[in-house]
């Protein structure tokens, strides 16, 4: 169906939830093209999330691969009545990443500011890992989609099947919570 789409390509679907629900059903049926499309839509997001949680690139990549193995094999267990595909996919990936991070403590790899900035970063990946886990699941998902997948807020809303205002408010709350956590360090 969409096997010719380049990786990372994000289509402007009016109904992302319905599209991704069909995509997961096709993956469950063993459709490799659908799996490729799903990978193209989530590769950056899952990778960034795993990197934030695990903290080290090689192990994060292992976690990404493991997450997609589980998605490929477990897509049939996705139940649309229990949540949107994005939530299911990220829950699977987050569980894998957390398990990977427990096998060995992550290294505190600092976020690198733009060259010449000269400012010591107060937000590093180790901190992000700890702080993101303190957000609610819907807040985590909204932040991950907005920042790690580099989606506009309208695209995040479409992916979640929720009103734009609701999503923006959730992201605002999540950012305020993260800023409060910085203050508590």
């Amino acid at each position: 169906m969409s096997g010719n789409l380049p990786l990372g390509y994000v289509r402007d679907h009016r109904d992302d939830v319905a599209f991704e629900t069909r995509l997961l059903a096709q993956v469950a049926a063993g459709d490799a093209d659908a799996f490729r499309t799903l990978w193209g839509r989530y590769r950056g997001l899952v990778h960034a999330m795993c990197l934030a949680v695990v903290g080290e690139r090689a192990r994060a990549e292992d976690a990404v691969q493991e997450a997609f193995v589980r998605i490929w094999r477990g897509a049939g267990s996705y139940d649309p009545a229990r949540g949107v595909p994005a939530a299911w996919i990220m829950t699977v990936a987050r569980n894998v990443a957390r398990t990977a991070s427990r096998t060995r403590p992550p290294l505190p790899v600092a976020y690198e500011p733009p060259a010449g900035d000269g400012v010591e970063p107060i937000v590093d990946r180790l901190w992000l890992r700890q702080a993101l886990s303190k957000l609610s699941e819907p807040e985590q998902l909204a932040i991950e989609l907005a920042y790690f997948a580099d989606l506009s807020h309208a695209q995040v809303a479409a992916r979640l099947g929720e009103p734009l205002g609701t999503v923006k408010a959730r992201i605002r709350r999540a950012l305020l919570r993260l800023a409060e956590l910085v203050g508590e360090r």
Binding site: E61, V123, G165
Partner: protein
């Protein structure tokens, strides 16, 4: 504007404002409120930190590893294994080339039930200590069963290795695999029976020179 209201709206100054919202009153409050100014600076740091995580590029090797997942048979999922057109799906994944080699890793265990080798190709290691052989089973329908048994592949020299089948039409990446901690692995799979190949080699995945670690001739 009340401080409590302004505080809740601070993320709007990062570009999260709803449509038609006037920021004038919010900015006027922030300009005179040290607490809001400090929180806004922290929000900016959080925003940049999150963007920094999302900006990391993925390696091409990871793309290849993930896109090879559909070629891996699920041993305990009989429905998927019986799925018609399984090989055809794999063909689309492996660079569009007419090959599919499914693989399963039985690390360190060279005995695979049900596999009978009709022919064996010995791979000579270009690196000391590497030993490998590709066992070719009797054709089963459109498939050619294969089993690669390798020893001495450094688990740290390359994280993953690639098995290549080469013929008159060029070299085909057939499988990506990973040895165990001792450098041993057994890769079991199938290739299309009508694929024309007469040479086999192993390289490190993601290596720029593509130099073979071991090679063999049919």
């Amino acid at each position: 504007m009340r401080h409590e209201v302004a505080r809740e709206r601070l993320p709007e100054l990062l570009g999260l404002h709803p449509a038609f919202t006037d920021e004038t009153a919010l900015r006027a409050h922030v300009a005179t409120c040290a607490e809001c100014l400090g929180l806004l600076a922290t929000l900016g740091e959080v925003d940049r930190g999150l963007r920094g995580v999302g900006a990391v590029e993925l390696s091409r090797e990871l793309d290849e590893r993930v896109l090879a997942i559909p070629t891996i048979p699920v041993v305990d999922d009989h429905a998927r294994r019986r799925r018609a057109g399984w090989v055809g799906s794999a063909v689309a994944v492996v660079a569009g080339l007419a090959v599919a080699l499914s693989l399963s890793l039985t690390r360190g265990d060279s005995t695979v039930p049900g596999f009978s080798a009709a022919r064996i190709v010995t791979l000579t290691g270009a690196i000391s200590g590497v030993r490998a052989e590709l066992q070719i089973g009797r054709p089963e329908g459109p498939n050619q069963p294969l089993r690669l048994v390798a020893h001495g592949l450094s688990p740290v020299g390359a994280r993953y290795y690639v098995l290549w089948l080469a013929g008159p039409e060029g070299r085909v990446s057939a499988a990506t695999f990973r040895p165990d901690a001792d450098g041993d692995c057994v890769v079991v799979g199938v290739a299309p029976r009508d694929l024309s190949w007469d040479r086999v080699s192993i390289t490190g995945a993601g290596t720029s020179d593509g130099a073979a670690i071991a090679t063999g001739t049919l």
